[in-house]
């Protein structure tokens, strides 16, 4: 099995407003067809998330977050060096979501050698396919942040 040098995982639900952000960024980065980079969209199911990155050297997780910050604010956490921040430890489907997948993989020795999380503060997570202006504006800035991590 070939290894993904860099795996971009855009997490989200394309039909829940700003939650589509991760998927949209994965699509944009995929269109750039950068060598050594694989981009996937993911619904955040934890068991398959841990499997998704098992052959990657570097992983960047991208997801919209809801922390109370200004909409469009970009967060970056180096998950290789730090645990999932408590303030983002919100609960997902049956209280077993992305934070649990990351921390469980850490305990089980199944985290990639390098893994970062890029979160963008969303504003509206209601049903619908359109992003809010603030989050739309943050897409290109977020892509720049991601590309910086690839150096």
């Amino acid at each position: 099995m070939t290894r993904d040098k860099v795996l971009i995982i855009g997490i989200g639900n394309p039909y829940r407003g700003d939650d589509a952000l991760g998927c949209l960024i994965a699509r944009e980065l995929s269109a750039k067809a950068l060598q050594g980079m694989t981009c996937i969209e993911h619904d955040g199911e934890p068991a398959s998330l841990i499997n998704a990155w098992q052959n990657a050297e570097q992983v960047i997780l991208i997801d919209a977050v809801s922390s109370g910050a200004e909409p469009g604010h970009i967060f970056h956490f180096d998950l290789t060096k730090q645990a999932w921040p408590e303030q983002f430890n919100l609960y997902s489907t049956h209280a077993f979501g992305i934070p649990q997948a990351v921390e469980l993989a850490r305990v089980l020795g199944r985290l990639p050698a390098k893994i970062d999380f890029i979160g963008v503060e969303g504003q509206c997570f209601a049903a619908g396919e359109s992003l809010t202006d603030e989050v739309k504006k943050a897409i290109q800035k977020t892509i720049v942040e991601i590309l910086k991590l690839l150096d």
Partner: protein, 439 residues
């Protein structure tokens, strides 16, 4: 669990917990204790209702499966199956043969995935004294890995049959949009052979857990088909003599508004009685439908034909995982790719009914449609609405038996007792706050 605080003031004690972890959705538990007697138990669900039934009105009968599957990320197959069967019932169509078998295979995937998640990641930490599966994984990495592996194989079935793992999109009224090739199922078969071994180990391991001594004379309600363990169809039966067609469901079960909860309470009539749906109910009412080797595995794990200790539901779930894996293997072995992926279903003005067995219990759907196939009316009763009163009844008796324990232990055991039901509060409307008022 977050935000725990305790106040002591003379005779009264109050414990507040921001929410109960490892349960889907938002809710709270209120326990009122006076003079060492438990006076009141309220399981409050305060996540707002989502009005799915209203949203379905005016939509095409073919859309209900994909819309209702959005109600839950854990049991979308159940929603799809109940919606599809109800629409076919309205239109006078019965899907048989390989397409019926494939629906059953699809459901096996959801049972394996959902049960493995609950057994290993949500419920087992209670029995072993951990706050979470992450903490448990530090001491029991191989066991947690086994849970992840099993869940993944369930997900693989859902992905193959549903097009993707969460919110599948491949099932439709009349059948599927695409059916798997024999080669695709052969690949799945290899994984399932391994899953069978993992599932049997799961049964043996759950049997080694320490269970609180507690049992109830439950009214179990589950489907009972003529000749198989229930998933997609069957008569609605109970261990107390109920035996009805699904179209009679609302004559015997009634959803009621309760002031302390945003979720409707479903009760059995007459007498507004609580009843128990889910793995223990299915097992009790369909034990004779299990293959002999699975019955033997259950016996070796200490289960009789009926299990009345809700804490042992973790073993029953493990037995159902073995069954789902065994059934999936049988379906794959008998499979011949059908030429037709779906039968034609023409709408007619009628009302259709269906209950299927979601991992956590009966899921009832009723739809009225017109000649054009537009949905005029919908009613959905999820398993957690049906179990909510039963959970309160369990807590009323169970907590009374352990009132001498300190509040933090009562809290821990109450949460464990709630998780016996793998409640999906999202489906019922959604997180739990525990409040013990003791004087």
């Amino acid at each position: 669990m977050k935000g725990h605080s305790a106040d002591k003031n003379n005779n009264s004690r109050t414990i507040k917990v921001d929410y109960l972890a490892r349960v889907e959705g938002e809710g709270a538990l209120f326990l009122k204790i006076r003079d060492n007697l438990l006076e009141e138990v309220k399981l409050k669900i305060f996540e707002p209702p989502r009005f799915f039934e209203g949203l379905l009105r005016g939509r095409q009968f073919t859309q209900a499966a994909d819309i209702t599957s959005r109600i839950c990320g854990i049991c979308p197959v159940a929603y799809q199956m109940s919606a599809i069967h109800a629409m076919e019932n309205a239109c006078g169509v019965q899907v048989e043969g390989t397409l019926r078998e494939l629906r059953r295979l699809f459901y096996c995937g959801e049972w394996i995935s959902s049960h493995a998640l609950h057994i290993y990641m949500l419920h087992a930490p209670d029995f072993l004294g951990y706050d979470s599966a992450i903490a448990m994984a530090k001491d029991f990495p191989d066991i947690v890995e086994r849970g992840l592996e099993l869940k993944k194989i369930g997900n693989d079935i859902m992905k193959l049959m549903g097009g993707r793992e969460i919110h599948p999109i491949n099932a439709r009224v009349g059948g599927f949009y695409k059916v798997p090739s024999s080669q695709e199922l052969a690949t799945l078969r290899q994984k399932l052979t391994h899953a069978h071994d993992l599932a049997l180990k799961t049964v043996k391991w759950t049997a080694t857990l320490k269970f609180p001594e507690f049992s109830q004379d439950y009214t179990f309600v589950a489907l009972r088909p003529p000749d198989e363990y229930p998933m997609n169809e069957g008569r609605v039966t109970s261990n107390k003599g109920l035996d009805i067609d699904v179209s009679e469901f609302e004559n015997h079960f009634e959803e009621q508004h309760i002031a302390h909860s945003n979720a409707l309470h479903s009760v059995m009539q007459p007498g507004n009685r609580s009843y128990h749906v889910g793995p223990m109910a299915r097992y009790a009412l369909n034990y004779d439908r299990l293959p002999d080797d699975i019955k033997q595995a259950a016996q070796a794990a200490g289960l009789g034909p009926v299990c009345n200790n809700p804490f042992k539901s973790i073993i029953v779930r493990a037995i159902e995982v073995v069954y789902a894996v065994t059934e999936a293997l049988r379906i794959i072995d008998d499979y011949s790719q059908p030429k037709q992926v779906a039968v034609n279903v023409k709408p007619r003005a009628a009302t259709g009914f269906s209950t299927t067995e979601a991992p956590r219990g009966l899921l009832y759907h009723r739809y009225s449609i017109d000649n054009q196939g537009l949905i005029k009316d919908a009613n959905i009763i999820p398993p957690t609405s049906q179990n909510q009163k039963m959970i309160e009844d369990d807590l009323s008796r169970f907590v009374q038996s352990c009132l001498k324990l300190p509040d933090n232990e009562i809290q821990y055991l109450s949460e464990q007792a709630i998780r016996n039901y793998d409640p999906c509060i999202s489906c019922a409307t959604h997180f739990l706050k525990l409040n013990i008022d003791r004087q």
